[in-house]
Amino acid sequence: MLQYSEKVLELFTNPKNVGTMDGDDPHVGTGVIGSPECGDVMQLQILVDDQGVIQDAKFKTFGCGSAIASSSLATEWLKGKTLDEAMAIQNVHLAEELELPPVKKHCSVLAEDAIKAAIEDFQKKLEGRTDKAELHSPRCCEKLNDCEGCGSHGE
């Protein structure tokens, strides 16, 4: 097990904004990213008001300590942001804030993807489309291989 930063440990021990919102609510956008087989699944939800500002954010995450910390931090950052501001959040910002080691960068990638998926889901609802958020299993594994510091280590 890796030595985590204090920030990861704090958010892991006392995660913020754990929970679920009604996915059928037209003001709620839901993003579910990752796959159980890869060891990470993030569910991130946003509640968006009529001005396009994120009023609330909730998450549930199956994954390691840094995956949980990344999603918790993402929900904190999302609150009060407009959708455009939220779209600008990048994995490197999360990784820097949490001082994630290279092998854990993919956790912040997942969090960024979950933010974007939640926003997309909300926007689809706005546009009257009804297709639901789904698990993106292949995407997770591709991400793992692409991501810096991952997939290239032997035992």
Binding site: M1, F12, P36, C38, G39, M42, K60, C64, H153, G154
Partner: protein, 411 residues
């Protein structure tokens, strides 16, 4: 109770203070080289090594001349496997092993594949065991070595070594071939009474630091008769250890190793009973307090000290992080640099998601019931907290899929 609690004895054990005491004189006072024949310093060391060799041989029902000292089980495995193959099948032959062996065996076999040898990797059943029949089905005229571990380090699953030994012996007689049986018994020695003749093994690897002895010392048992086993030299030099492993003998460690073997022989019965009681208490305690738990490894045919459990809908590394004051290990990808879940659990067809959430508790003789109770409570709390965070748990409850897995039940 002292924190952190160590429950990772399959990784390594502390040195028993009695072992440490026995080793002490052999560093600064009696430091001689056991190969020095011309003076008392050497004689003294030689005598200590000879006595140690006898103690170690006794634990296995072997004779002292059949014990070759090495740096540990990894070296013993390398010496046994390469030594046999190069001696009896220098132009390539067939090896039978199992997908769940230790890397010291698997990677040695992979290396030999690049040198023209063929390797059959037996697939264990879902409880982690291979059968003697599986071995019999794969033996060919050019099979030179069957190498199967006594007990698995991750799951504790114990192979039917005596039955497999019998099969190998029968085929050797029938085929009149050079066919040998090697077992890596590192995890089993000191927990399972073992006699090399009753088990019909020709070579056996084991290590001191898994049985309260020092690290960096181990042995390879090499049978001397029925049949006499010869090995191609892997470490060239002064011809120590009947030319099977050159290098000045590590007298203090050998003395410590022997003391550990002596204590293991004297205390095995009590230790096994104690460990089994503690392990069952731990496992039952967890099963009574946590639902959706899967046991990995055979329920009865497994090491008395090992419990490998997968916790549904949560991830192993986050579980370990919750259990920071308990030293255990996990089959989770996130705990290894490779990001691959345990190949042992995979070979047993444990789904990746459950391999990710597995914890191995391996107990030792310094654990006690108070620690077990503490761990049970900690695990139950951690699992509950992580399931509150887990979208998979929500989904399984919502979609009513919790019945899809064969979860373990408390007795």
């Amino acid at each position: 109770m002292k924190l952190p609690i160590y429950m990772d004895y399959n990784a390594t054990t502390p040195v028993d203070p009695r072992v440490f005491e026995a080793m002490k004189p052999w560093f600064c006072e009696d430091f001689g080289n056991a190969a020095s024949r011309s003076h008392v310093f050497g004689w003294k060391a030689e005598t200590a090594v000879a006595e140690s060799r006898e103690t170690i041989a006794n634990l296995l029902g072997a004779s002292p001349q059949e014990i070759v000292f090495t740096s540990g089980a990894t070296e013993s495995d390398n010496l046994a496997i390469k030594g046999i193959c190069e001696m009896y099948a220098p132009d390539g032959g067939h090896i039978i092993t199992c997908m769940t062996e230790h890397k010291a065996v698997l990677d040695t076999c992979k290396y030999l594949e690049t040198k023209g040898y063929e390797v059959t990797y037996l697939k264990p059943d879902t409880e982690g065991r291979v059968s003697a029949q599986q071995v019999a089905d794969e033996i060919r005229e050019d099979t030179v070595l069957v190498t199967l571990m006594l007990a698995n380090n991750e799951t504790g699953a114990v192979h039917p070594i005596a039955e497999i030994g019998k099969v190998v012996r029968e085929y050797r007689a029938r085929l009149h071939s050079h066919l040998f049986f090697h077992t890596d018994a590192t995890q089993g020695i000191s927990k399972i009474p073992f006699n090399v003749n009753e088990m019909a093994v020709d070579l056996l690897s084991f290590s001191s630091h898994k049985m309260y002895g020092p690290k960096g010392i181990g042995a390879l048992y090499v049978r001397r008769r029925d049949p006499r086993v010869r090995l191609a030299i892997q470490t060239h030099g002064g011809g120590h250890e009947r030319n099977m492993r050159s290098g000045t003998l590590n007298t203090p460690s050998i003395v410590g190793f022997a003391k550990a073997c002596e204590l293991a022989a004297a205390e095995m019965e009590n230790n096994v009973a104690k460990l089994r009681h503690l392990r069952d208490h731990l496992e039952q305690g967890i099963l009574q307090n946590v639902d959706y738990v899967k046991r990995n490894g055979h329920k009865t045919e497994r090491l008395c000290n090992t419990a490998n459990l997968s916790f549904g809908y949560i991830e192993g590394e986050s579980l370990m992080l919750k259990l920071r004051d308990i030293a255990v290990s996990s089959g989770s990808a996130c705990t290894s640099a490779s990001l691959e879940p345990s190949f042992v659990l995979r070979a047993m067809d444990v789904p990746d998601i459950l391999a990710h959430s597995s914890l191995r508790f391996s107990l030792g003789c310094y654990n006690d019931l108070a620690e077990i109770d503490y761990v049970v409570e900690k695990v139950a709390t951690a699992v509950r907290e992580l399931r509150e965070l887990s979208p998979l748990y929500d989904m399984a409850l919502r979609d009513n899929t919790t019945g899809d897995t064969d979860w373990a039940q408390a007795d």
